[in-house]
């Protein structure tokens, strides 16, 4: 049984890659990288069972497999469809996909408040990016938008349900990272909402991660709310000796002050290692941290407009500057 696993071949938008059996189309696309990667608003690799809901990652399977080359009649969710050997997939090269995705973006936006100018998530919001890349210029929706009151769920987290796109990620976080889930999805259809139902405060040690997994500004860090636009902050990789979590975090600095702490995310916005509330909310002093150096930010991100990497290159002791 020591034989190597037989790799299988899949082609996405004309680019071919070899992957392990059981890989989803989305993850195969991520192995190729670049333009062939479908956007994902609900799928989140570290969270088991996530995905399939937002429908932004729909792709066209133009050839099922080498064995059964028939195309799949419907567009499929690439995050939850596994590849077959010889499968051919169209992402942006399919008109159907581009059209359907535009539709999904419109659906996601019709009840979204579009309050980006006052939203803390602006600049690192997946919905903003999605709408920019795949959406239409204007909305055809002319009715009243869904609204909810903003509520505090615990000392550190603000729930602004009006912005929520019901990706369910925060529910998976509570299910998988905390001993007892205390919030969930209430009601149904377009009245569905994230809630604790009885204004419970969420104070489990790992619940702060719901902020990081939220693709929009529905769950925000109260210690950071309205302090700064993210693109005025400078993210630094840092670590600490934490008994509860791995202590690997990103410090978002304003000058020498820690404005907020988040987990480290990869290029798809997925957390590499979840962090505890203590690290996130309470360690706001540089003495708590061992700063490793500037966080690499994609040059496409608005955050990179700071060009601070040139100012504070890696290995420069940051603490004595400024």
């Amino acid at each position: 049984m020591s034989e190597q696993i037989q790799k299988i071949t899949v082609t996405i938008d004309g680019k071919t890659v070899e992957v392990d059996p059981g890989t989803t189309i989305l993850n195969a696309a991520r192995q190729i990288g670049g333009e062939v990667v479908p956007p994902a608003m609900c799928y989140y690799k570290p969270l088991k069972g996530s995905g399939g809901k937002c429908r932004t990652c729909l792709v066209e399977v133009s050839k099922g497999s080498e064995k059964d080359p028939r195309p799949m009649p419907k567009l499929v969710a690439s995050c939850s469809t596994t590849v077959m050997d010889g499968m051919e997939v169209k992402n942006k090269s399919s008109e159907r996909v581009v059209d359907a995705r535009k539709g999904v973006v419109e659906f996601l936006l019709i009840n979204h408040p579009l309050d980006c100018p006052v939203c803390d998530q602006a600049g690192e919001c997946s919905l903003q990016d999605l709408a920019f890349e795949h959406g239409a210029d204007t909305s055809r929706y002319e009715f009243k938008r869904r609204e909810f009151d903003k509520i505090d769920i615990g000392e550190y987290i603000k729930l602004h349900m009006t912005r929520c796109i019901l990706c369910y990620r925060c529910v998976y976080v509570a299910n998988q990272l905390t001993p007892n889930r205390e919030h969930g999805i209430l009601k149904r259809g377009d009245a569905a909402e994230i809630s604790t139902y009885i204004q419970n405060s969420l104070d489990n040690e790992f619940i702060g991660n719901v902020i990081d997994v939220c693709p929009v500004g529905a769950l925000t860090d109260k210690t950071f709310r309205f302090r700064s636009r993210v693109w005025y902050t400078k993210p630094m990789d840092a670590s600490c000796d934490c008994g509860k979590c791995g202590g690997k975090a990103v410090l978002w600095m304003i000058g020498n002050e820690i404005a907020r702490v988040t987990a480290r995310k990869d290029q798809y916005g997925e957390v590499e290692e979840f962090i505890c509330n203590d690290c996130r909310f309470n360690k706001k002093d540089l003495k708590d941290w061992n700063v490793e150096g500037p966080r690499k930010i994609s040059r496409h991100s608005v955050i990179s407009t700071n060009h601070y990497e040139k100012v504070a290159p890696a290995h420069t002791p940051l603490l004595n500057k400024a």
Binding site: E182, H183, G184, R188, Y197, I198
Partner: protein, 176 residues
């Protein structure tokens, strides 16, 4: 409505047995499957599903309260707010609309002086419009408690409102 103090939230023996029967129809450890039935029993007994009632159900079935809230707010038959003793649920979908469900609704509204979703001041009637109840061939219709009243006319509505006013059956299933 009923006193909803937490201390008073307790099923009588026969209802606990009913819950137990539901639980035992599922394999060991799958008692959550009895949740929907238990909530029906609770709603019938306590009048509606208040938070203490739902918390009680959660304890009975050894599940988290949020799991009960999620379910209780998903299904349209559950009331998480107080309602009247008799819920008049008028179907208004498809064939019922063709056969004049809207007229029946406004007739009841005028007669009882309440709007869709409201309860009469004496606490007897709640009017609720609902979607298809599976009586399309016998339209228009309404459901009161467990009972289906079909081929409705204004006279029939008069009669059944009179009947329920004299004897307001609880929304409990099975009592006729």
């Amino acid at each position: 409505m009923e006193n909803q103090n937490i201390e008073n939230i307790q099923f009588p023996k026969e209802l606990l047995d009913e819950v137990q029967r539901a639980v035992s129809s599922f394999p060991e450890g799958k008692q959550k499957s009895a949740l929907i039935r238990t909530l029906h029993i609770a709603q019938a007994h306590f009048g509606y599903l208040s938070t203490p009632v739902m918390d009680y159900v959660a304890r009975l079935l050894h599940i988290q309260p949020i799991e009960v809230y999620e379910v209780a707010t998903f299904y349209s038959m559950y009331d998480t707010q107080p309602v009247g003793k008799v819920k008049l649920e008028v179907c208004r979908t498809g064939p019922c609309m063709i056969e004049g469900a809207e007229k029946i609704v406004s007739y009841i509204e005028n007669k009882l002086g309440i709007k869709d979703g409201e309860t009469t001041s004496d606490g007897i009637f709640t009017l609720k419009t609902v979607e298809c109840l599976g009586a399309c061939g016998y339209a228009p219709m309404l459901q009161a408690g467990e009972k289906f009243h079909e081929h409705l006319t204004e006279e029939k509505v008069d009669a059944l409102i009179e009947q329920y006013r004299l004897k307001p059956v609880a929304n409990y299933m099975g009592q006729e």
